[in-house]
Structures are given as C-alpha cells and as structure tokens.
C-alpha cells in the first residue's frame, strides 16, 4: 500500500522534471523578443513577451495590460486620472507607461533599439 504512494510520488517527480525541461526550452527561445517589464514600487512584478498577445491584470487588478500585435498598452486603471491609459502603445526599447497613483511602471526591454521597427 505504502509503496504505491511512493511510486506515484516518483511518477509525479518525473512529470515535474519533464515540465521544467519544457518550460526552459520554451523560455530559451523567447529571449530574442522584446518584453514588457512591469515594476510596482521599483520591484519587478513580471515580464510579458510582446510576441504573445493577451490581457493581463497587473498589481492585483489595479491596472490591466494589453499586448497585441507586438505592442503593449494599459487598457484599464482604477486611479482617477487615467494618465497611464492615455500614454498610448509602446513597443520599442526604453519606452514606458507609468501609473503614479499605483506606483506602476511598464517598460520595454530586450527588443530592438528605438527607431527600428521592433515588431516580430
């Protein structure tokens, strides 16, 4: 009886190792693309590759980041001034969007330099 549980834990361990390998393989290939780096209070909260479209709640839902067609922008914010929503779309190295009430900054890293078209 006990040994079946040990065996199943072992199977789960092998599964986990396989998943980790897959994760690293996928990660490695995405280093070439630009990423939207999200900082809250100066601490990095996450990196979102511009090549992957999606809608991402940030900072516990205070802001919403949208990535589409290789560009990132903030579509929703719970602050009164909505400055970040009006900062437009960013896609090139060094460009950023800031939401000061929520101490949130989204910046682009790892892509091509400003001036060149960074779309993939």
């Amino acid at each position: 009886m006990k040994s079946r549980y040990l065996r199943d834990l072992l199977i789960a361990g092998v599964l986990l190792a396989a998943a980790l390998l897959l994760f690293m393989a996928v990660r490695g290939r995405q280093v070439s693309g630009a990423e939207a780096v999200v900082m809250v209070d100066g601490e990095e909260q996450g990196r979102y590759p511009l090549a992957i479209a999606g809608t991402f709640p940030l900072n516990g839902g205070s802001n919403v980041l949208v990535i589409e067609n290789g560009e990132a922008w903030v579509s929703e914010a719970d602050c009164p001034d909505k400055v970040c929503m009006h900062m437009g779309k960013i896609s090139r190295n060094g460009e950023f969007i800031a939401c000061l009430p929520n101490r949130l900054i989204v910046s682009i890293e790892g892509g091509e330099d400003s001036g060149a078209d960074a779309r993939t």
Binding site: R4, Y5, D8, L9, I11, A12, L15, L16, A18, A19, L20, L22, F23, A25, V26, R27, Q30, V38, Q45, G46, P49, I52, A53, G54, T55, F56, P57, L58, G60
Partner: protein, 161 residues
C-alpha cells in the same frame, strides 16, 4: 443509506466552499492566471473515492456555480467550468484503471483543470496564450496536484465511513 449519501455530498460541497474561500484569501504568488493550489479539489477527490464519480461531478459543478456567484464573476464561471469538466473526466478515467493512488489522480486533475481553463481563455479572448502558458501550468499543476493528492489520501483515511 440514501440520506447518508446526500449528507456526505453536502458535507463535501460545504468543504469545497470553505477551501475555495481559504484559497481566495491567499494572495496570488505568481502573477499568472490559473496558477493556484486548487484546494477545493481535496473535497472533490474525497467524494469521488467515498461515493463515486457521478457524486463527485455533482459536488464539483455545484462548487463552480456557487464559488463563481460568491467570489468570482460570470466570466470566471466559464473558465472554472471548462477546468472542472476536463479535470473530472481525466480523474475519473485514471481512477477507474485502478493502477494509481489519489496522488496521480489529483495531479492529472490539477493539470487538466489548468489546461481546461487556459483553452477556454484562449477561445474567449481569441489569443494564443496556450502555447506560452502550458509549460508553466504543467509545473504548477503537478506541484499543486501532489499537495492536494496527499491531503486527499489522508482525508479519505481519517474520516470515518
């Protein structure tokens, strides 16, 4: 006998609700949708081993409905439903083979729950997030599945028939 079954199902459903609430109070440690422990699955697996697949399915689906109404949104119900159905089917098949313990059944449930949610998100949002998230959700689903599986195994043994 029938009353006892209904009582056990109600107990499992109540346990689901409490565990879902406890989990909703844990701050997300990874800023990625779908990455969570899935504590409520402990009660679903308990129902599956104690009562059967159909009863566990009822408990799980009632949980999805109630949790979405109480702590979630209309959209979150679709994600949860897709995850719950896929997870129930997978866990049922693995349990039926009789070859695995609660641990593997739970790991499959965790992974399939994640896959169901992300596929539904992909359909509803029209994005290809699946490709990028899948490895991460496999990792989180496996770890969470082991935790839930061990807890379920203990629960099934400790709670008197």
């Amino acid at each position: 006998m029938k009353a006892k079954k209904i009582t056990t199902m109600a107990l499992a459903t109540a346990l689901c609700m409490v565990l879902s609430f406890v989990e909703s109070q844990i701050p997300a440690f990874v800023a990625i949708p779908g990455v969570k422990v899935g504590l409520a699955n402990i009660a679903v697996i308990f129902a599956m081993y104690r009562l059967g697949w159909k009863e566990a399915a009822v408990v799980s689906l009632i949980r999805v409905l109630l949790v979405s109404l109480l702590f979630g949104s209309f959209a979150s119900m679709f994600y949860s439903l897709a995850g719950a159905v896929l997870s129930l089917v997978g866990m049922g098949i693995l349990k039926k083979t009789g070859k695995f313990t609660e641990i593997i059944v739970s790991v499959a449930g965790g992974i399939l729950h994640n896959i169901g949610q992300i596929v539904m998100a992909g359909i509803l949002l029209g994005t290809d997030v699946l490709r990028y998230y899948l490895p991460l959700l496999l990792i989180s689903g496996t770890i969470a599945g082991v935790v839930v599986g061990v807890a379920s195994a203990i629960l099934i043994r400790r709670v008197p028939e």
